[in-house]
């Protein structure tokens, strides 16, 4: 296995709710060109491209076909990966495997979403609509008021079951969710590539409408237009193309469980707060990265949190702290940018959610933190040696993790 590093990152200049000025491929090209600007590379340096988004969110089948020259992928090998919320990291992991295998030396991974072109609720409903219709044929009340089957709360509803189960098992209170939300929104203010950038207090969060207790409107993520590109390279090419200030990918992991929610016809067997795949995926990644005590060894986390309670939940599921300890770390200030375990210094998915790129922004942020190339005010003051990034998706069933480090893994 060859060592692989992220040598550069490119974002669209902004992540906002609506990019009215450009079309889809023009938006993608901005992040690709930024990656070239930031690395000093040209498209000729790229051996292959990996690509992904959630295609039904833009109603566009096989969008890489249209995008070829706009993303500088013309006449190159291109792999399209698509795995739901985890897709950004799946695409980056594909680039990692491409280089680790020795087949390619420098690979560009690009992911994007232009959510304003479609209706995200429709895109999400599209996961299970046929199954829901089949259940309605069998007497299920689609409004969830009567009978067996469908629950209340819409897409927030599904997450609220997870939040409640998490609170029950961890001993955290709903106020901890408010506090985590305020912390991340405040981090986002410092990040020029964040979408929601408004100084937010716990009181501001608590003033928002309760949608499905324990989750409020202020606990949910926005819908965003934006794109992210990472360039990864082999150790030899790192020496050739860079000054050595790169972030090494030392561990990867991915696991699927069953669909944990809205799996109407097949029987739901998993508590959505259990998240076994997180444990399976991260265990593999830690082993690969030679990490024995993640609580001590991990210096920062970027976690995929569509909803505010999830940051706390993932810290525990991913072994960064013990079960039930995350809210104590929050109370102790450990999760702040200058704390012991800075968590979502970027503001997280919770503040910026161009879905396709959300799970790539996590390792991208870790890489920039390690390289100390953060633009904006959210650079973590302490030196980052090992960082944990995470993606989540499907029907609450996929977990992707990637561990980044300031030096390659020792073989």
């Amino acid at each position: 296995m060859r060592n692989v590093a992220i040598i550069g990152v490119g974002y669209t200049p902004v992540f906002v709710s609506k990019r009215k000025d450009v079309n889809i491929v023009e938006m993608m090209s901005e992040s690709v060109d930024a990656a070239f600007r930031n690395t000093g590379l040209t498209p000729d340096d790229i051996d292959a491209v990996t690509f992904g988004n959630m295609q039904t969110f833009e109603g566009l089948n096989l969008p890489h076909l249209w995008a070829s020259e706009h993303i500088r992928a013309l006449d190159k090998p291109v792999l399209r990966v698509s795995t739901g919320g985890t897709v950004g990291m799946s695409v980056l992991q594909a680039a990692y495997y491409y280089v680790a295998s020795g087949v390619y030396d420098v690979v560009m991974a690009t992911s994007w979403e232009k959510q304003s072109e479609g209706d995200s609720q429709v895109g999400l409903a599209g996961i299970v609509l046929p199954e829901a219709i089949a259940m309605v044929q069998h007497g299920m009340d689609l409004f969830g008021i009567k009978g067996l089957g469908f629950g209340g709360g819409g897409s927030t509803g599904a997450a609220s079951y997870q939040a409640m189960s998490y609170l029950h098992h961890s001993g955290a209170s709903p106020e901890h969710i408010d506090k985590m939300a305020a912390l991340e929104r405040s981090n986002a203010v410092l990040n020029p590539y964040a979408h929601l950038r408004k100084k937010t207090t716990v009181e501001d969060i608590q003033a928002t409408q309760m949608v499905a207790y324990p989750l409020r409107f202020g606990h949910t993520c926005p819908t965003t237009d934006g794109a992210t590109t990472c360039i990864v390279a082999s150790e030899d090419m790192v020496k050739k193309l860079t000054d050595g200030n790169v972030a090494w990918i030392t561990g990867v992991g991915y696991a699927a469980s069953d669909p944990c929610t809205a799996n109407f016809l097949e029987g739901q067997i998993t508590d959505p707060a259990e998240q076994m795949p997180a444990k399976i995926a991260v265990e593999k990644a830690y082993k690969q990265a030679g990490i024995k005590d993640p609580c001590k060894e991990i210096d920062m986390c970027e976690l995929y949190n569509g909803f505010a309670h999830q940051s706390l939940m993932w810290l525990e599921k991913l072994g960064v702290c013990k079960e039930g300890e995350a809210h104590q770390m929050l109370d102790a200030g450990a999760l702040e940018i200058d704390g012991e375990m800075p968590t979502n210094a970027s503001g997280g998915v919770f503040s910026t959610n161009a879905i396709g790129s959300s799970a790539m922004n996590r390792p991208a942020e870790c890489a920039l933190q390690i390289m100390r190339k953060i633009e904006g005010e959210h650079q973590i003051p302490k030196k980052i040696r090992k960082a944990l990034s995470h993606g989540w998706g499907g029907l609450f069933q996929y977990v992707a993790v990637m561990i980044l480090a300031d030096e390659p893994a020792k073989s």
Binding site: M54, F57, K76, P77, T83, S101, A256, E266, G393
Partner: protein
């Protein structure tokens, strides 16, 4: 670099499998793992290959993981042709992180979705979908014309190619669209869609799924006495826009060059014993084969007249019947690899090519052969 082999395949193709995709995938994988003497726990990574638009579901793999045995396992999904998915699985094993990988590709183009409509969704939405002129079949017609005009090839040649593939398919139990004794005249008499494309030049709408098991050297030898080694891979994406010369395929040519280089092949026409190509329309077969370096450019007429691509020739092309026998989109390309495996292990029955050791499988995506991928496989470990 590690050695990686294909150690087994299973496939199903029909106009209508009469099953849900969950059941189709489960039965295929259940029987396959049993035949291979493995359980789902013996598989290190699962590479699925399906498409949200083909399945009509956002995140098409959400309900496909469990039926293939990926519950609590490493899994990913490629949304492209099956050859791309197999390539990715191969690369995953090469990385050293996995020893075994399953690739499962499927779509239900026969019973659930409408293939031509899904291809419309792949067009540029700010122009082509607005002017609403282009579709998969008229794109095929334009490319067929470009090839015919460039090289002086007649329509009868396309009919001959289709007839050969349909006859081959009739001998393949995994193809359902075969037609015993069909003649070029029968093809010529089928309905004209867009000139020069006729109904019998086109792939049939297909329900299908295909599964391959890949393994690194040591595991491969434990799992089978007859591994088929993956020797080379290559793929290339061309421009979407109509500025390229579509009478030739630059991307097939470059993909093949990469794969040949990796496989150490310098003279494909003599070193390959057969090829399985995803020619969704009969005119595509010569463009692909010529770009693969098997026949001279523009030689389709000569190849057809002299039977140079026939099952008993020196260079059999798609003895399975190719995409005209069955083509279930994502599974379409993977079936080409599976067919190469059947040939090289001597298990191809009535479509068996004599003395086959090295073969090439081809898959494609997009209109005008925009995205192509190839894989070279061989019984020689080398």
């Amino acid at each position: 670099m590690r050695k990686v082999a294909i150690v087994g395949q299973k496939q199903i193709n029909a106009a209508d499998v009469g099953k849900s995709r969950e059941r189709m995938l489960f039965e295929l994988c259940r029987d396959f793992y049993k035949e291979m003497g493995i359980t789902r726990h013996d598989i290190d990574t699962f590479v699925l290959c399906s498409n949200d638009f083909y399945s009509g579901h956002t995140i098409s793999n959400v309900f496909e993981d469990c039926p293939v045995g990926a519950y609590m396992k490493d899994e990913t999904k490629v949304e492209a042709d099956g050859v791309m998915a197999a390539t990715y699985a191969f690369i995953r094993i090469l990385s050293g992180l996995y020893d075994t990988a399953v690739v499962v590709a499927s779509s239900q183009g026969g019973s659930v979705m409408r293939p031509y409509l899904q291809m419309d969704y792949s067009l540029n939405p700010t122009y082509d979908r607005q002017v609403d002129l282009l579709n998969e079949v008229n794109a095929a017609a334009l490319q067929a014309r470009a090839y015919m005009d460039e090289f002086g090839v007649s329509e009868e040649v396309l009919d001959k190619i289709a007839a050969r593939n349909l006859r081959n398919a009739a001998r393949n139990p995994y193809a359902f669209n075969g037609k015993t004794d069909v003649t070029p005249a029968d093809v010529a008499n089928s309905d004209v869609l867009y000139e020069p494309i006729k109904a019998m030049h086109c792939y049939p709408f297909t329900d299908g799924a295909c599964v391959l098991l890949l393994a690194a050297e040591d595991r491969a030898k434990e799992l089978t006495d007859a591994p088929v080694w993956i020797k080379g891979v290559g793929d290339l994406l061309e421009t979407y826009y109509p500025e390229r010369d579509v009478s030739r395929s630059k991307s097939v040519k470059s993909s093949a060059e990469r794969a040949y280089k990796m496989a150490g092949i310098s003279d494909p026409a003599s070193e390959l014993d057969l090829v399985e190509v995803s020619a969704k329309f009969s005119y595509q077969e010569p463009i692909i084969c010529e770009a693969l370096g098997l026949f001279p450019e523009g030689s389709a007429g000569d190849v057809a007249d002299r039977g140079l691509a026939d099952m008993d020739s020196a260079m059999p092309v798609s003895p399975s019947g190719g995409a005209l026998g069955a083509y279930a989109f994502c599974a379409g390309g993977l079936v080409r690899i599976a067919e190469c495996y059947r040939q090289l292990t001597g298990g191809a029955g009535d479509t068996q090519v004599a003395d086959a050791h090295t073969a090439l499988a081809h898959g494609q995506d997009g209109l005008f052969l925009q995205h192509n991928a190839v894989m070279v496989v061989s019984t020689e470990e080398g």
